[in-house]
Amino acid sequence: METRSIMIVGVGGQGTLLASRILGNTLLNEGYDVKISEVHGMSQRGGSVVTYVRYGSAVSAPIIDKGGADVILAFELLEAKRALPYLKEGGTILVNSQKIDPMPVIMGAAEYPGDIPEELRAHANVRMTDALSLARTAGNSKAVNVVLIGMLAKTTDIAREKWVQTIEQTVPAKFLDVNKKAFALGYEA
C-alpha cells in the first residue's frame, strides 16, 4: 500500500500527543509500517505543535513536507490555516472550530483572521466540528483530542472497535469512560 500521511496540528497543551499515540497504536495493530514524528520541548509551551503520522507497507521519511498530507487533523482553527500548505491537492481537513488567541493577537499586534473556514474550503474537503463542546458533553473539556480522533476514525476504513480497543490500551482506566464517550461523539459528529 502506498504511504498515507496524516498531520495533526494544534496548540501546545491541547493533547495532540495522546491523539498521535492512539492513532499510531491503531495503525500498528492493523499491521502497517508506521512512523510518527513530533518535536518535543520549547514548542510545547503554548506554541504551535505539529505531529506527522505516516503509514503504509514501507514508510521512508517520518516527516510530511509541503503538499504531502492526505489528511490534516486540526485541533484549532488558526493552526489549520497555518498547516494548509502541507495538504495534498484534494486532501481533507478535519478541524475543531475552537479559536485560541496567540500572543500577538492577545497583545493587539495582530488580528485573528476571520475567514479561515472559507479559506480552507477553497483548497480542501473540510469537516468542521465544535470538538470542545462535544468533549464537555462527554464529561471533560480535555477530551477534545479523543473527540477529534473519533472524527478521524470515521474517515478511515479501520473498524470502529479497533479504535476503541487502542483507546482502552492507551488511556488510564479512570479516564476511560469519558474518552470512550468522547470518541463516540466525534465518530458520530
Binding site: 496548540v11 501546545g12 497543551g13 499510531g24 497504536n25 500498528l28 509500517d33 508506521v34 512512523k35 510518527i36 514524528s37 513530533e38 518535536v39 518535543h40 520541548g41 520549547m42 514548542s43 510545547q44 509551551r45 503554548g46 506554541g47 504551535s48 514508510v59 521512508s60 521519511a61 517520518p62 516527516i63 513536507d65 509541503k66 503538499g67 504531502g68 488558526l78 493552526e79 490555516k81 497555518r82 494548509l84 500548505p85 502541507y86 495538504l87 491537492e89 485560541i100 488567541d101 496567540p102 500572543m103 500577538p104 493577537v105 492577545i106 497583545m107 493587539g108 499586534a109 495582530a110 488580528e111 485573528y112 483572521p113 479559506e119 483548497h123 480542501a124 470542545l132 473539556s141
Partner: protein, 578 residues
C-alpha cells in the same frame, strides 16, 4: 515482539539489551528521553548529574571500573562534556562507553546549530548515526561492542528528527549485565604526559584500524538501483532522499560517520554520473570526499542552515516542484509562551517594570525575552547569566551594578551558575543574582535536580540548600521572596540592587505544572476595572483584550492569582469553582 518506539526510547532499549550498567546524563532537548527511558528499566543504575561534564566523568569512571556505561546530552551539552571526552579517547575503556549526543538542525529547542560530528573528528572517536528507531536500537548495541573491541569511547549521533520520531522496533532479550574485572593500570588510565604520549600512539593506530573497519562496517551500505545519480547520506537525510528520489538514485548509506571509509566511497562514486552528498549542517562527509579527490555536489547546492526536506531534495536533484496550497499572508505566529500560572511571569513583570538590565540564561524563563515581558538583554549558554553580568558590571561600573541583575533557574544555577557566582564574589564584583527556583528542571520536561531533593526515580535524597550555598561562597545578602507577591518582590529587588556588593534573591514558587501545585478557580475582572491594561503587561495567555477591554478566558486561566496582585485597582478577583 514489535513495538513502536521513539528514537530516544530505542536508544535506551538498545542500552538495556546491551546490558548497560550505568547511565549518567544531564537533560537537554532532543536527548532527554534516552535517560528517562533508561530509568524505566529497574536493572539499570541511572542518574541525573548536575551537568554534562560530571555526567561524562561519572560514566568514564564506571567504564574504567568495568561496567558498560552511557552518558547522553544535546549538542551544546557536548561542549560542556568535551574536556573529559577528549582524554577518555586516550585512556580508552574497560566496560563499553557510549556517548549519545543529539544535534538540533533547525534549532527547534536550541541556542545554536553546531554539528557534533566535528567532535568525533577532533577527539578521534568512532561515531555512529542511525536513521530510525530500529537502527537506534541496533547501533546502540553495536556501539557498546565496538567500544570494547576497539578500546574507545563511541559516539552515537542523533538529530532531532531521529530522536523524536517513532518507528517500529523488534525487541530482543537483554544480554546479562556484567562487570568486567578491574585492574589498576596507570599507563592506560593516568593521563600524565609520559603516559599520554604513549596513548596517543595507540589512538592513531586505533584510527587506522577503525578506518579499515569502516570499509566493511555492516552499517555502511550501498544500494544499486541502476540509476545515474548517486547519493551519499546518513541519518535522517538518507530517509528524506529515499522519499524524494526512490529508485531514481543509487545510495551509499553511511551508518558509521567517523572515521569515514575511503575505498567504499571511491568505488561507489566511480559508478555514478553525478554524486550528491546529502548532510544537514556542515560539509563533513563532503570535505572527506574532496580530500580523497572525489568530485561530489554538496553545499554548493544545499544549505548550511537548518534542516533538509524531501521537497528540497526533489527540487535540487530531480528539478521537480511539489505543488501545495498557499495560505494568505495574515497568519499570526504562535510563539511559545510561559504557561498560565508560571512563577517566572511574576519575576519578569517586576524586572520589566523596574527597567533593569537583565543578564539572561537558558530555561523556561528565557521566554521572558519575548513580548510583552521583553525583559532579557542577553542569553548565551547555561550559566552565562551570572558570569556575563560580572563582565558587564566591571566594564560599565558601579552605577551599572545597581541596575544589573542575572536571572538563572535552579537547575541551571547548579549546572554552571555557582562557579560564576564564586567568580563574582572572589573578584569583588556586584549586581544581584535572581535564582528562579521553581523546584524542577522545567524547560526539558520536568527532571529532578540537586535542588529538588529527589533522584531521577523520584526517591528522596539530600537537597542542596541554595541559601546556605550562596552564603558559603561569600554572598552576605541572600533573600527569599515569592515572585507572585509582586509588591514585596519589587521591594526586595530594589533593596538588593541598591547594594554595592553582590547579592542573591531566591525567587521561590513551584512550576505550575507540578502535580503538587493545585491552583483552583478562575480569576475574573470585575466592574472596578478602569481599563488601565496593566494586567496585560504580565503577558498571561489567559488575558486578552475584547472590545477594548481586558477579559480573562476561563478556559485558559488556572486561577494562579498573579493578575489579582498586579491590578492596581483591586479589580480582579478570584472566583472559586462552585
Amino acid at each position: 515482539m514489535k513495538k513502536i518506539l521513539l528514537g530516544n526510547a530505542a536508544v535506551a532499549r538498545g542500552a538495556y539489551e546491551a546490558g548497560v550498567n550505568f547511565v549518567s546524563s544531564y537533560p537537554g532537548t532532543p536527548s532527554t528521553e534516552i535517560t528517562e527511558e533508561c530509568a524505566k528499566f529497574n536493572e539499570i543504575y541511572c542518574e541525573w548529574a548536575p551537568n554534562e561534564k560530571v555526567a561524562a566523568e561519572a560514566a568514564i569512571g564506571a567504564s574504567i571500573a568495568g561496567g558498560r556505561a552511557m552518558s547522553c546530552c544535546k549538542h551544546v551539552g557536548l561542549n560542556v562534556m568535551a574536556d573529559p571526552v577528549f582524554t577518555a579517547s586516550y585512556t580508552g575503556v574497560n566496560g563499553g562507553l557510549v556517548l549519545a549526543v543529539a544535534d538540533d538542525p533547525g534549532m527547534h529547542s536550541s541556542q545554536n546549530e553546531q554539528d557534533s560530528r566535528h567532535y568525533a573528528v577532533a577527539a578521534k572517536i568512532l561515531m555512529l548515526e542511525p536513521s530510525d528507531s530500529g537502527e537506534c536500537k541496533e547501533f546502540t548495541k553495536a556501539a557498546f561492542r565496538l567500544s570494547e573491541e576497539y578500546d574507545t569511547p563511541v559516539f552515537l549521533r542523533l538529530t532531532t528528527r531521529v530522536a523524536h520520531s517513532q518507528s517500529i522496533v523488534e525487541l530482543s532479550e537483554p544480554e546479562p549485565q556484567k562487570v568486567r574485572p578491574y585492574e589498576k593500570n596507570a599507563a592506560k588510565n593516568v593521563m600524565v604526559p609520559a603516559n599520554a604520549i604513549k596513548r596517543h600512539v595507540i589512538v592513531e593506530d586505533r584510527m587506522r584500524k577503525l578506518s579499515d573497519f569502516a570499509e566493511n562496517c555492516p552499517f555502511n551500505k550501498t544500494e544499486d538501483n541502476g540509476a545515474k545519480i548517486g547519493v551519499i547520506a546518513s541519518g535522517i537525510t538518507y530517509l528524506y532522499a529515499k522519499e524524494a528520489l526512490g529508485n531514481n538514485a543509487n545510495y551509499l548509506k553511511l551508518g558509521m560517520i567517523h572515521p569515514l571509509p575511503e575505498k567504499l566511497i571511491r568505488d561507489f562514486c566511480k559508478k555514478q554520473e553525478i554524486v550528491y552528498v546529502l548532510e544537514e549542517l556542515d560539509p563533513v562527509i563532503e570535505n572527506h570526499c574532496k580530500t580523497l579527490g572525489v568530485q561530489v555536489e554538496g553545499k554548493n547546492r544545499f544549505s548550511f542552515l537548518g534542516e533538509y526536506s524531501v521537497n528540497g531534495i526533489r527540487r535540487v536533484i530531480l528539478h521537480e516542484e511539489t505543488s501545495a496550497p498557499e495560505t494568505t499572508a495574515n497568519t499570526p505566529v504562535r510563539p511559545p509562551v510561559m504557561c498560565p500560572g508560571c512563577p517566572h511571569r511574576g519575576t519578569f513583570y517586576v524586572l520589566k517594570k523596574l527597567g533593569l538590565t537583565v543578564s539572561g540564561d537558558i530555561g523556561c524563563y528565557t521566554l521572558g525575552a519575548a513580548p510583552p515581558l521583553s525583559s532579557i538583554d542577553t542569553t548565551v549558554c547555561m550559566g552565562a547569566s551570572v558570569s556575563a553580568a560580572h563582565g558587564m558590571i566591571k566594564v560599565r561600573g558601579e552605577e551599572a551594578a545597581k541596575k544589573t541583575v542575572s536571572v538563572i533557574g535552579d537547575s541551571t544555577f547548579i549546572h554552571s551558575g555557582i562557579t560564576g557566582l564564586i567568580n563574582t564574589v572572589y573578584n569583588k564584583g556586584g549586581g544581584t543574582v535572581i535564582i528562579l527556583d521553581n523546584s524542577i528542571t522545567g524547560m526539558t520536561g520536568h527532571q529532578q535536580n540537586p535542588t529538588t531533593g529527589k533522584t531521577i526515580r523520584g526517591e528522596a535524597t539530600k537537597q542542596v540548600d541554595l541559601e546556605l550555598l550562596c552564603k558559603a561562597v561569600g554572598i552576605d545578602h541572600v533573600r527569599i521572596a515569592d515572585p507572585f507577591d509582586v509588591k514585596t518582590f519589587e521591594a526586595v529587588v530594589k533593596e538588593e540592587c541598591a547594594r554595592p556588593e553582590p547579592s542573591v534573591i531566591i525567587a521561590q514558587r513551584p512550576c505550575a505544572l507540578l502535580k503538587q501545585v493545585k491552583y483552583t478557580g478562575c480569576c475574573e475582572i470585575t466592574d472596578k476595572c478602569r481599563n488601565c491594561k496593566v494586567c496585560l503587561k504580565a503577558g498571561c495567555p489567559a488575558i486578552a483584550v475584547k472590545d477594548g477591554r481586558p477579559v480573562i478566558d476561563a478556559s485558559q486561566c488556572n486561577g494562579c492569582g498573579l493578575c489579582v496582585n498586579v491590578c492596581p485597582f483591586g479589580a480582579i478577583e478570584k472566583k472559586e469553582d462552585a
